[in-house]
């Protein structure tokens, strides 16, 4: 069969961007070593990228970066405050289907072997009693969870998801560097890499026959569901929270796979069953994909200090909860374990390892120790259990030959005292792959991270390709990405793809319209992102009004009171400090806009909105997310025009966020909470604005400022054709049910949302919050504008505060009551 890609790009050698690619060691380069149709695939790929970028390969990186940013693809370097965009090189790595099937089979065998080893460690411990695995290799692992001994997981599956780091040696032989079974960090990035490349290379992957990832994630989902107790199980992904290095990845996976994204505090164990606290009460969870280390997962059974776990989760495990991966599996991740796996493969599987791991010696054995000491200069020495040990205090590995005499002595002394803490490995050399750097191809050493999951029948399925990491520094042993590393998508290519693409027939998906469950925590966050968003919008409007009115102060004396009143309003909202009473309006305006130390400043509120958006990444639409993440406008703090422009921009942007959320989110309960927060905040701010701007002798200027805040100055003028006076203004901003920024309108919105939320009571009576809302609606409907006095406004403000409390009591913290704190642990 002819290569379809060859027809598209032609075999013209002049258009081959790889023609001048010259790695230092051609025999150790995956492209140079490729032959026949796979070599053609490489060339077609490079030519395709050149074509896509219209010859500007350097521009391609920029374009990919944009796609990555648009996908919200980010990660954190350990210890970093800010997220960084995920670095993706535009040039994928090509592996032939034939070569890949060898890797896949080898990894499936390895996953099976690890499963058997884990099952023995937490079961009969025959391997230990029989002398095949030293007890110390198990107890030395910080991930050995003695509590789990004797506890069998549902379906006998300790492992559902595994990842492996592999190296391709210069001779073309693949070796396993690391087994990662605790957290498959990178599995979501691999998915997103492909997505970003698909977007920026216009279907090149499909035309070249790269295998897709879709069925892999479906297999994972079905694998998780397979052993759940209920037939239509509810699955959730347990995250440590947004400060985790791979939180963006976790949120993305949850959304992609349709899993509820939950934190420990969302969950509760009752009578051995796991539940999530939702706005509609406790809902059962059947299967949990955890992204939390076992140590932190249950403060009652493991580390009592954990604040991110779920008390008693292990008793839910005893009662049949599917927990992937099972706590304690990390025991096989130690550097000592690969020293035993070749032997264990023969013992447990009756066959040798199909894919070797890096040759490893554990110094706890007398013979092995001697061998290591005799060959010290040819080996890499590392901490057997990844702990700080003498001579390797930073936990890094060291090459024997390159040690100083002091380092060497320290390690030798350490090995004499505590030999079990050390392992040695052969030195691994890496193949290179062509990567794009500044518009041309350069050879870079790489490691491959592969992912395997169990499908519904328990078979191991590999993600076709996974991703590769390339680095200038050559140090590629860290858990995720270091600074300056790049990730590379890996394309498994069938030069002769099977005639019909035999995708496994997927069972028909049950149609549904609800978003699934809404955890109380997520509802709380949505509510507050609505409130903060509206508050920053109104604050920007007030700042804008302040600047505009103060500009006219010299001309019209009555402008002075409007300026003072707007300044008071901004102080009331904590956008400006009390000391600002002596400030020029422009200084106050700049502070209210940009001062981080001021809790009510637009800058600060923007930051809070952004923090909440990070937590809601799985629930906000992509467009909403993008609008929220636009950079804060820059301006000259002494230039009134620039201040007004910045406020205009913020007002417009917030309107866009609100509209994108309302147009894009399904109008289920999650959206209702967001909109509820917005309406409640708008109602409260409206009352506060009236309270500051109207009392005493409100001038026409004061009332104009008020109308300006509600964006209805034009409407007033066209309706009354006169200077604003108090009663008509109050009617317009407070009582008119058709004025969409007005108070009465917000109450109608609040009433509607509360009526539509799922009932929590079983006696058919309305919820407290809804009753309070109805009360307010009635009171406002019966109010005449002429009779509004400050006490009326204060009464309504109090009722609104009571309503907000009732909402949070009913829907957000139903277990704990209002002033609760997260679970605390203590030592007697």
């Amino acid at each position: 069969m002819a290569d379809p890609a060859a027809d598209l790009f032609g075999p013209d050698p002049a258009s081959d961007p790889l023609a001048h690619y010259s790695p230092a060691e051609p025999q150790a380069d995956v492209f140079r070593a490729a032959q026949g149709p796979i070599a053609d695939a490489w060339r077609n790929l490079a030519a395709g990228l050149a074509l896509q970028s219209q010859g500007d390969l350097a521009g391609l990186q920029h374009y990919i970066d944009r796609q990555v940013e648009d996908l919200g693809l980010a990660f954190r370097v350990a210890g970093d405050e800010e997220e960084r965009p995920w670095p993706l090189n535009p040039m994928p790595l090509v592996i032939s289907a034939a070569e890949w099937s060898g890797i896949e089979a080898g990894l499936a065998q390895r996953a099976e072997l690890l499963e058997r080893v884990i099952a023995d460690i937490y079961g009969p411990q025959d391997l230990i009693r029989g002398g095949h695995l030293p007890a110390v290799v198990v107890s030395g692992s910080p991930h050995f969870a003695r509590r789990m001994v004797g506890l069998e997981p549902p379906g006998g599956r300790h492992l559902n998801v595994c990842s492996f780091d592999l190296a391709r040696g210069p001779d073309g032989e693949w070796r396993v560097l690391t087994d990662r079974v605790r957290l498959p960090v990178g599995i979501g990035y691999a998915l997103e890499n492909r997505l970003a490349l698909m977007r920026s290379t216009g279907g090149l992957a499909g035309r070249l026959g790269a295998r897709s990832h879709a069925s892999f994630f479906e297999a994972l989902r079905r694998g998780l569901a397979a052993n759940c107790q209920r037939a239509d199980p509810r699955l959730a992904l347990l995250t440590p929270g947004r400060f985790n290095q791979s939180y963006p990845e976790q949120a993305y996976l949850a959304r992609y796979m349709g899993l509820a994204l939950v934190e420990g505090r969302d969950l509760a164990v009752r009578d051995g069953r796991l539940f999530v606290r939702t706005i509609a009460g406790l809902k059962r969870i059947d299967g949990l994909w955890r992204w939390i280390n076992a140590r932190d997962i249950d403060p009652l059974h493991f580390d009592a200090r954990s604040r991110i776990g779920v008390p008693n989760l292990i008793s839910a495990c005893e009662q049949g909860l599917v927990l992937a991966n099972w706590p304690g599996v990390g025991v096989v991740e130690t550097r000592a374990m690969p020293a035993f796996l070749p032997r264990l493969a023969r013992e447990l599987l009756g066959e040798p390892l199909a894919l070797p791991n890096v040759a490893t010696w554990w110094c706890g054995g007398e013979a092995e120790r001697k061998r290591v000491l005799d060959n010290f200069d040819k080996l890499v020495v590392s901490s057997a259990f990844k702990q700080q040990v003498a001579g390797l205090e930073d936990g890094r590995t060291r090459v024997g030959a390159s040690m100083s005499p002091d380092e060497r002595a320290a390690i030798m002394a350490g090995i004499a005292r505590r030999p079990m803490d050390y392992t040695a490995q052969e030195i691994v050399h890496l193949s290179t792959t062509p990567a794009l750097a500044d518009g041309h191809f350069e050879a870079r050493g790489f490691t491959l991270r592969a992912f395997l999951v169990r499908d519904g029948d328990g078979r191991w399925v590999a993600m076709p390709g996974g991703f590769a990491r390339i680095s200038k520094s050559g140090e590629l042993r860290t858990s995720l990405m270091g600074l300056g590393d790049h990730s590379v998508d890996v394309w498994v290519i069938d030069p002769e793809p099977p005639e019909s693409h035999a995708e496994a027939a997927l069972p028909a998906t049950a149609i549904r319209r609800e978003e699934g469950l809404l955890p109380a925590q997520a509802a709380d966050n949505l509510y507050w992102i609505g409130r903060y968003g509206e508050r920053l919008n109104q604050t920007a409007r007030a700042i804008r009004a302040l600047v505009s009115h103060s500009a006219g102060v010299m001309a019209r004396a009555e402008g002075v009171t409007a300026t003072t009143r707007l300044a008071n309003l901004l102080r009331r909202w904590n956008a400006a400090p009390p000391a600002s009473i002596k400030w020029q309006p422009i200084r106050l305006a700049a502070t209210a806009l940009d001062e981080r130390a001021q809790p009510g400043s637009v800058r600060q509120l923007t930051g809070m909105t952004h923090d909440l958006a990070l937590l809601l990444r799985d629930r906000l639409t992509r467009d909403t997310w993008r609008a929220i993440n636009r950079p804060f406008p820059s301006f000259d703090a002494e230039d009134a025009d620039e201040l007004v422009d910045a406020c205009d921009l913020i007002v417009e942007r917030q309107a866009a966020v609100a509209r994108l959320a309302s147009d894009g989110m399904s109008h289920t309960a999650g959206w209702r909470f967001l909109d509820l927060g917005m309406a409640l905040e708008r109602a409260s701010l409206a009352l506060q604005a009236v309270r500051e701007l109207v009392p005493g002798k409100a001038s026409g200027e004061d009332l104009s400022a008020l109308l300006d805040l509600f964006d209805c100055l034009g409407l007033y003028r066209s309706r009354y054709l006169a200077i604003p006076t108090i009663a008509p203004v109050l009617d317009m901003v407070l009582l008119d049910p058709l004025q969409p920024r007005g108070f009465a309108y917000q109450l109608a919105v609040i009433d509607r949302h509360l009526a539509a939320l799922p009932p929590l009571r079983d006696d058919g009576l309305p919820e407290t919050a809804h009753l309070l809302a109805r009360n307010l609606v009635a009171s406002v409907e019966a109010q005449a504008a002429q009779e509004i006095v400050p006490a009326t406004l204060d009464g309504w403000l109090g009722q609104l505060a009571g309503l907000s409390d009732a909402i949070s009591r009913s829907y957000f913290l139903q277990q704990e009551g209002q002033d609760s704190k997260p679970p605390t642990s203590f030592l007697a």
């Binding site: 110390v136 003695r146 706890g364 679970p823 642990s825």
Partner: protein, 292 residues
Amino acid sequence: MIYRVSHEIRMRYAKPVADARFNLRLKPVEWPGQAMSDYRLDILPQPAVRADETGPYYLTTTRLEYEADVAELAVSSSFTMAVEPRGHPGPTPAVGELRQLALEVPDLSVLSPAPYLFASRIAAANREIGEWAAQLCPPDTAVLDAALALADRLHGEFTYQPGATDSGTAPIEAFRARNGVCQDFAHVMIMGLRWCGIPAAYASGYLRTIPPPGQEKLVGADAMHAWVTVWCGEQAGWVGIDPTNNCLASGDHILIAMGRDYADVAPIDGTFVGAAPQIMSGGVDVAVIDPA
């Protein structure tokens, strides 16, 4: 010698707390030379769920779950214990030999050496403590002699000072200040022994309150006590050494639990929703009811 032991723990919360769950680690495990009878554990208020589990280290954990809010918790543990003094365990292997022996025991159970060879949460590896201890543990010294020498040095250099530290103090801080309580002494000794590749565990239990006539009262008898058990080879097994009193743990010591450090055997911990409790003194009484 027959003792009657009672231990009371009371905690009060300023505001009742919800979702209260507790782990109690007060029921004695079996131990050579100890024979227990009449165990009672009284808990007020009555929990909705109460269950005993063994492990994960060498201990019994009693789990409590409350459905109603809890304002105050009162726990009372009492038992009768007959204790036979164990005497000197006899010759033990040299440190260098023991190191390799410990690595080769094909056993992962709670009484095997393997679990107690490595750094644990509180007894983390520490070079300062390690090098201080290593001077007394050369490869050719018998392991029990080395451990006793270490206990002696600890006892000589450190001041026993109740209140100097609390259960949250890191052992290295007590080490640098050269003072602390039994828990700190035990942790420092464990860290020193493990640094040298010698399996060492944290023993938690009680001491007789009133000394025999003519002898001084042992330090640490008014509360729960802690000492160290050292693995001295297959023959001698686990040998208790009390660095606070610079003696072998025998006759006057009643072992309740053994773990890697205090965190494994803390008498009580738990989770709840609400503010932390005020912990009232846990009264311990160890009375001799039959000196035979």
